[in-house]
Amino acid sequence: MGADTRATAGNIIADKNIVKVHKLTDSIYACGAGTAADLDQVTNMLAGNMRLMELNTGRKARVITALRHAKQHLFQYQGYIGAYLLIGNVVRESGVDPTGPHLYMCSANGTTMAFPYTSQGSGSYAAITVLERDYKPNMTKEEAADLCSRALMAGMHGDNMSGNSFRLVIIEPKQTENRGPIVPDFCKLTESKDLEYKFKPGSTKVLKQKTIKYEVIESMDVSH
């Protein structure tokens, strides 16, 4: 999972380095889009509830528990808590819940969905295109991290409200790794323009040619 690090207030960049990857438990993380204050509040509440649940039951909290808490809380507030979450986890204790990695989306209205891959937030439209094109099942950790980075960069590139740098969190059965902040090249300098606006002759491939002969009966003077 990953997220950029920009916070905006209108068209002002309010903070260039905030953490949008929130830790819920050792093995459950949530990425958030929407209202920063609401996200902090909701993720803190979830983290607290999950920890209490772990202490009360003596077991690891499960991602579906966090998800249900989130959706019921957000539904109760009918979308007025502007938190859009991606919740991900890998179950640590093998044999307890051997269903493998989980990724869920929870919107501010209380809709939840499970996905093999997804994106969220204002940059999600650009990001999902990269994911749709390059995602394949059973990727290695580095392949997945690379795809995640490229999707984030696409999102940061194509959206004014995303940018500056991004962070990744890689959740594995034994440990969790945090990477970043990573600053992509296009966030460092003004970009050079990629192509000339004047196209060279032959830029467009000719697929078919057909000559039609017309007999000119009358012509018009177009010099002025």
């Binding site: 920009r6 916070a7 207030a9 209202t35 204050a37 979308g79 209205n109 809709t111 996905f115």
Partner: protein, 245 residues
């Protein structure tokens, strides 16, 4: 990420940003009773405005081993209601120590959908089988009115196939005939309705339980529609090959 509450309420169409757009299931739901069970078929599209937020959604939600609910309207509302009804169903089942009838479940739905009719946008089909009455299908549209149906379509795609379903229904349809009709109806609806699409999910509920089948557009047996070919639209001196599809 936005730190201003005011901006949360204002859409920015240029950025494709619609903060309070409800994620909703512009949907096609088709269902038919047959002797001994019910067939239900759905598309799999979930949209948020013009964006498809999921193209492989499962809109058929099991409530018990022999009863499902097909959801259309706001995804958040229908998920919440389905969860609540499932909770009440389980509570009743424990108290009474026998499975609830399909009708009882429709009455639990009615209570919530009618009570909160002003704040909910949820329309559902409840399909299932019980010992008392066999296969049953109930439609609960927006206000919370419960009607039993032999065959029905619901959701935005339903308008396109109402006539098709009426023309195909006859007494004593078999399970397989119903499956074919329902699948074709979803195919036809998806072909014409912009807010339905993706895969076709077919479910059969009978005494033995619930089965769920998947039909993908890139795999065999997906319902295909042959629409009339268009007239050639460009001037005749330009070579045009009529589109075979």
């Amino acid at each position: 990420m936005d730190t201003m509450r005011k901006d949360m309420r204002e859409a920015i169409p240029a950025l494709g940003f619609y903060p309070h757009e409800n994620i909703s299931t512009g949907t096609t739901l088709i269902s038919m009773e047959f002797d001994g069970g019910v067939v239900v078929g759905t598309d799999s599209r979930t949209s948020s405005g013009s964006f498809i937020s999921s193209r492989a959604t499962n809109k058929i939600t099991p409530l018990t081993d022999n009863i499902v609910v097909c959801r259309s309207g706001s995804a958040a509302d229908t998920q919440a209601i389905a969860d609540i009804v499932k909770y009440h169903t389980e509570a009743h089942t424990v108290v009474e120590n026998k499975p609830l009838t399909v009708y009882r479940i429709t009455q639990i739905f009615r209570r919530f959908l009618y009570e909160y009719r002003d704040s909910l946008s949820a329309s559902v089909l409840v399909a299932g089988w019980d010992k008392e009455n066999g296969g049953q299908l109930y439609a609960i549209p927006l206000g919370g009115f419960v009607t039993r149906q032999r065959s029905t379509a619901s959701g935005s795609g339903s308008t396109f196939v109402q006539g098709f379903l009426d023309s195909k229904w006859k007494p004593n349809l078999t399970r397989d005939e119903c499956k074919e009709i329902v699948k074709m109806a979803v195919g036809l609806a998806v072909f014409r309705d912009g807010s339905s699409g993706g895969v076709v999910r077919l479910s059969v509920i009978d005494a033995k339980g619930t089965t769920l089948e998947l039909f993908r557009p890139d795999k065999p047996n997906f319902p295909t529609v042959k629409a009339p070919l268009p007239h050639l639209s460009l001037p005749p001196h330009i070579d045009q090959e009529p589109d075979e599809n």
